[in-house]
């Protein structure tokens, strides 16, 4: 039994670290890092799925963050972030530091591979237009202009 005590100690230590860490990961395909806490604000850069950020402060549903491994800072909407671990190496076996619930986020499960298998069984489905839909992206500048020209006064103002 003695042999296990150091193991137990290390695990408890790791547990503490996990609770204290103020880092989150992007859980959407990509999300803009914005200059201000508003969907109408300018974009500094786009963060990609799984990218890690450190939380600096919060304002409502917005988080001021620093991109891990860089000095870049900006605002991200909280709904694009998760505290569940995202492992990007899909197809890898469970690594020592990730629990199985966290792996539900690991690009496994309902994945391109599953979609391809489903498509193979249902050849008449129209994915071409779904792919086309994904290219219909409206910029914050376009939304801002649309609201302003339309004389609309949204909550939070026009900035």
């Amino acid at each position: 039994m003695r042999i296990h005590i150091p193991v137990l100690f290390i695990c408890l230590l790791l547990a503490g670290t996990a609770v204290m860490a103020g880092t989150l990961q992007v859980q959407t395909g990509s999300t803009p890092l914005r200059e201000m806490p508003s969907f109408l604000a300018g974009t500094i850069t786009n963060l990609s799925y799984g990218q890690t950020v450190e939380i600096l402060s919060r304002q409502g549903d917005w988080r001021r963050v620093k991109v891990a491994g860089s000095k870049t800072m900006g605002w991200v909407h909280a709904s694009a972030l998760t505290d569940r671990k995202i492992e990007l190496a899909a197809g890898d076996a469970l690594s020592g530091s990730v629990s199985s619930d966290e792996l539900a986020l690991a690009g496994k499960g309902f994945s391109p591979e599953v979609e391809a298998a489903f498509r193979a069984e249902n050849s008449k489905l129209n994915y071409a237009d779904i792919n086309r839909m994904e290219t219909f992206r409206i910029s914050p500048e376009t939304s801002l202009r649309f609201l302003r020209e339309g004389g609309l006064r949204p909550e939070g103002g026009l900035q």
């Binding site: 408890l12 859980q27 709904s79 539900a104 690991a106 489905l125 994915y127 609201l147 339309g150 909550e155």
Partner: protein, 302 residues
């Protein structure tokens, strides 16, 4: 073996401390795994102990999983309807719809919201999970102005925010699907998981498309989507009266028994009554030269 189990238990404790959501995994997946010989008893126990809220409910579906379900639900809808390829109209509906989505409860989905017009005289609209939204030309023709179109789009966006599509997946299917994903994630399946996942995936997609296209949501879900639409319209600066206005138009034009909105939605007059209780009543939308001009320019030929 005991040593390994102890190590797993220690690791489990680590995970428990690091996770906010806790729960007990359903017995289903691990029992299946053990019975089929793909995982051992001790592995099953370890998965049960270390996993938090594994296969609990639709809330455990991640934005990425929701996105893949939404794509396929959309692909099924588009196999029954032709697309109306009018660039000007499609652009306009996307600028309006995606701007409204910024004021919804879920402004950020995995790949964002997108809107497509269906070349059909039916009066109908569908929202697939993750933000794939479809509206028929028949429905567009009922809209007199931008505010009324905004009301229809906001109602569909609210269905996405409330995850009504995902809630249409049968509970037993969801449990099996999420447990399969979890057990796969733990590296316990040597192979064959793709077939099981694909079956669960296809079943989930069928549950949702059956609800959207044939059975309709419950009256409670429609009320929730109407309330969500009113909140979006107000936040974006539109008159929420656009919604009861549209419902009044539908009351006149919907044919009972037709394979459209009438078949899958509560009677418009009931929804109008419920909106009145929320303080929203039909009334003439105030004219606005820019909004009216861009609406007519984009949808004049619909």
């Amino acid at each position: 073996m005991k040593k390994a189990a102890f190590l797993l238990l220690c690791l489990s404790m680590t995970f428990f401390a690091g996770c906010k959501t806790m729960g007990v995994v359903s017995e289903v997946g691990t029992t299946v795994g053990v019975a089929s010989g793909t995982i051992s008893e001790s592995q099953a126990e370890a998965i049960k102990r270390s996993s938090a809220a594994l296969a609990k409910s639709f809330e455990d579906i991640t934005p990425e999983q929701e996105y893949y379900i939404g794509r396929s639900v959309g692909a099924v809808i588009l196999s029954s309807y032709k697309v109306w390829n009018n660039e000007k109209a499609t652009d306009y509906v996307n600028v309006l719809g995606q701007t409204l989505a910024l004021y919804s409860r879920t402004p950020e989905t995995y790949r964002g919201y997108a809107f497509l017009i269906l070349d059909s005289d039916e009066i109908n609209a569908f929202a697939a999970p993750s933000g794939f939204i479809f509206i028929t030309r028949g429905m567009l023709r009922l809209c007199n102005n931008e505010t009324e179109l905004a009301a229809v789009l906001a109602h569909e966006i609210a269905h996405v925010s409330e995850k009504h599509g995902l809630k249409a997946i049968r509970r037993s299917r969801l449990t099996t699907a999420l447990t399969t994903i979890a057990v796969e994630g733990a590296g316990a399946f040597a192979g064959g998981h793709l077939a099981e996942l694909t079956e669960a995936f296809g079943g989930s997609v069928a549950d949702i498309t059956g609800t959207l296209m044939t059975n309709g949501y419950s009256r409670a879900f429609e009320r929730e989507a109407d309330a969500g639409a009113v909140a979006i319209l107000r936040a974006a600066g539109y008159d929420p009266a656009g919604l009861p206005n549209m419902l009044s138009a539908m009351e006149i034009h919907l044919k009972p028994g037709a394979p459209d909105f009438a078949n899958t939605h509560p009677a418009p007059r009931n929804r109008i009554a419920e909106l009145r209780q929320m303080g929203v009543q039909a009334r003439t939308i105030q004219a606005h030269h820019v909004r009216d001009a861009r609406f007519k320019n984009a949808l004049g030929s619909v």
